[in-house]
């Protein structure tokens, strides 16, 4: 059926928009990444989400701070018992803005741990570990001990008194586990007692294995968040997914799951 109105005249694309769109189209046709990014950015989330729900991305920011400052610190730190302490003193006192990078890394670690726990508490409060987000909770619950272990391995690296003795105790705590404990302790120490290999081991764990594991789990965690959606605060009057009166009249499931119906009271 032909329309009798003429379509509105479209302006030809401006040079600026072509300059932006052409490379994006080039990239999109060859990889699909632009579409993916647009999906991530413009996907819909419930309209009533709360400030508490920013804790997850705040934790990610803290982790990114750790990544960046850690990479820079690794350029100056010497992971050998004979030079580690001196390199830390050098970084803190002499290297330009070394104090800032080291300070951000040290305090960023505490921020990361605190934010992880707050985020976990928020998810617990919202009941957002329930169907279908159980897997995401498990991934997050795995991130907590790995994050704490990151803190533990990093604590040894300055090789000062605090570092050394806290590590002795920490390793021996692991050593008290039944059956495998002494093996774990010896593996961590690199020998029957703390020795020259211990620092290198902890450095490798702290720089390579654990960040790799954390990054992998974070990617999985974020993928699940995008796929499963962000939950509304449970007390919200217009929570996404709540039962509505018309659902009850149609007989869809039990009423009053998330909120009393508009007829008042629990049904």
């Amino acid at each position: 059926m032909a329309s009798t109105t003429t379509p509105p005249r479209r302006k030809p694309p401006s040079r600026a928009s072509v300059a932006v769109n052409y490379p994006l189209d080039w990239l999109e046709e060859r990889s699909g990444l632009v579409g993916g990014t647009k999906y991530f950015l413009f996907r819909k989330v419930p309209g009533d989400i709360n400030w508490m729900q920013t804790l997850g991305s705040a934790t990610l920011t803290a982790f990114l701070i750790q990544l960046l400052t850690g990479v820079i610190l690794a350029m100056y730190y010497k992971p050998d018992p004979n030079s580690a302490y001196a390199s830390i003193v050098h970084i803190t006192n002499d290297v330009t803005l070394g104090w800032l990078v080291r300070g951000m890394h040290k305090w960023g670690a505490s921020m990361f741990i605190i934010l992880m726990f707050l985020h976990m508490g928020r998810v617990f409060l919202f009941g957002a570990y329930k169907y279908p987000r159980e897997l995401n909770w498990i991934v997050g619950a795995l991130l907590i001990p790995i994050g704490l272990f990151e803190g533990f391995t990093g604590y040894l690296l300055p090789w000062d008194q605090t570092a050394y003795w806290a590590t002795v105790v920490g390793i021996n705590i692991n050593g008290t586990a039944p059956f495998l404990g002494p093996f774990i302790a010896q593996f961590l120490q690199g020998g029957a007692e703390i020795g020259p290999d211990t620092l290198s081991r902890f450095y490798s764990l702290h720089m390579l294995l654990l960040p790799g594991a954390i990054i992998g789990l974070i990617v999985l965690h974020l993928y699940l968040v995008v796929r499963l959606g962000v939950s509304s605060p449970p007390w919200s009057k217009d929570a996404a997914g709540m039962e509505r009166p018309d659902d009850v009249q149609r007989g869809n499931g039990r009423a009053g799951l998330t909120r009393p119906t508009r007829r008042g009271g629990d049904v």
Binding site: E29, V168, N172, G195
Partner: protein, 319 residues
């Protein structure tokens, strides 16, 4: 919804225009290579390479020119304005349908052998790497005999806090502290009580409960390492971490330590006190040279050696 088909500049029916096959570029490339080699080897080779390159280049260009004059003009078809391509259209790779899978019965053998070879590769790479990470922690520990001074450096009945390098090759990281008391002679041989200062709970440094004469510290260089000896008058030993307390024989008297403090076995070499190996202790009955020590192989702090909980640690890791 945004989307358009990929733009084909040649139109739907046009066959793609490519140059006819030709070997002249090969000769050109060889000529260029010889020219560059000549820059290192000698100028005559440069000249030879240049001649070859120019010759074949000329032949190549002549061919392209002839092709171009013979080919028709390509037609350009306008696309839909270059909108973004929907991911999946023209980008997705074909996937096997179920009937096609049936047509390849030998694929089961290929599947299995691919996985098998993959597993072998995985094993070849991972097992040595893991062995490298794990095994050295469980092998190669040696006992070193450490000379810590002459018997005369230890007056009878007095305690000395003695530090030494347990493994001189490793340097300061192997420094250990012991509390040593000379007990007099037992059956004609000097008797020493040599107690290690690592708490048997979780390894914190155990401190002497009593005055320590830091100003009388002696440092002696023996066999390439520095031994320190400091007089002290402990009435007991105590650990600052979690409240563990020990008596002067190393027996646990209070707190969470799970056994007595470790000790060192010793030998008398002439008139030198030499520490040999370290061992763990269950309990010590008696005092000084009359002490009867229940000896076990060295185990880490926190590991029970007697009582019902010893069965939690049945296997001692190799060292």
């Amino acid at each position: 919804m945004e989307g358009s088909r990929p733009v084909d500049p040649h139109g739907p029916e046009h066959r793609p225009h490519v140059p006819s096959p030709s070997l002249w570029p090969v000769g050109f490339a060889i000529g260029v290579a010889i020219l560059l080699t000549g820059l290192i080897v000698g100028w005559w080779i440069v000249l030879l390479g240049a001649i070859i390159a120019v010759l074949f280049g000329f032949l190549w260009i002549r061919d392209i020119g002839a092709d171009a004059r013979a080919a028709p003009e390509p037609e350009l078809v306008q696309g839909a304005g270059g909108g973004p391509v929907v991911p999946g259209e023209g980008a997705a790779m074909p996937v096997m349908s179920d009937e096609e899978i049936e047509r390849f019965p030998r694929s089961k053998f290929l599947e299995a052998s691919t996985l098998g070879v993959g597993a072998i590769i995985g094993g070849l790479v991972t097992v040595p790497a893991l062995g490298f990470a794990v095994l050295p922690a469980f092998t190669g520990a040696e006992d070193h005999n450490i000379d810590v001074g002459g018997v005369g450096d230890f007056p009878e009945g007095d305690w000395r806090i003695v530090t030494f390098l347990q493994n001189p090759d490793e340097g300061e990281v192997s420094r250990r502290t012991t509390f040593i008391r000379y007990n007099g002679e037992l059956e004609g041989q000097p008797s020493f009580t040599i107690i290690a200062n690592n708490c048997a709970h979780l390894g914190c440094p155990v401190q002497p409960s009593g005055p320590v004469a830091d100003e009388e510290k002696k440092e002696e260089r023996i066999n390439g390492q520095v031994i320190t000896r400091i007089p002290a008058q402990p009435a007991a030993f105590a650990c600052p971490c979690h409240g563990g307390a020990y008596d002067l024989e190393g027996n646990r008297t209070a707190g969470p330590p799970v056994r007595a403090l470790d000790r060192f076995a010793f030998a008398i070499d002439g008139d030198r006190l030499v520490l040999t190996s370290r061992y763990s202790v269950g309990t010590v009955e008696g005092e000084g040279k009359d002490a009867v020590i229940t000896k076990y192989g060295q185990v880490p702090p926190g590991v029970h050696v007697d009582g019902p909980e010893q069965f939690l640690y049945p296997i001692e890791p190799p060292k």
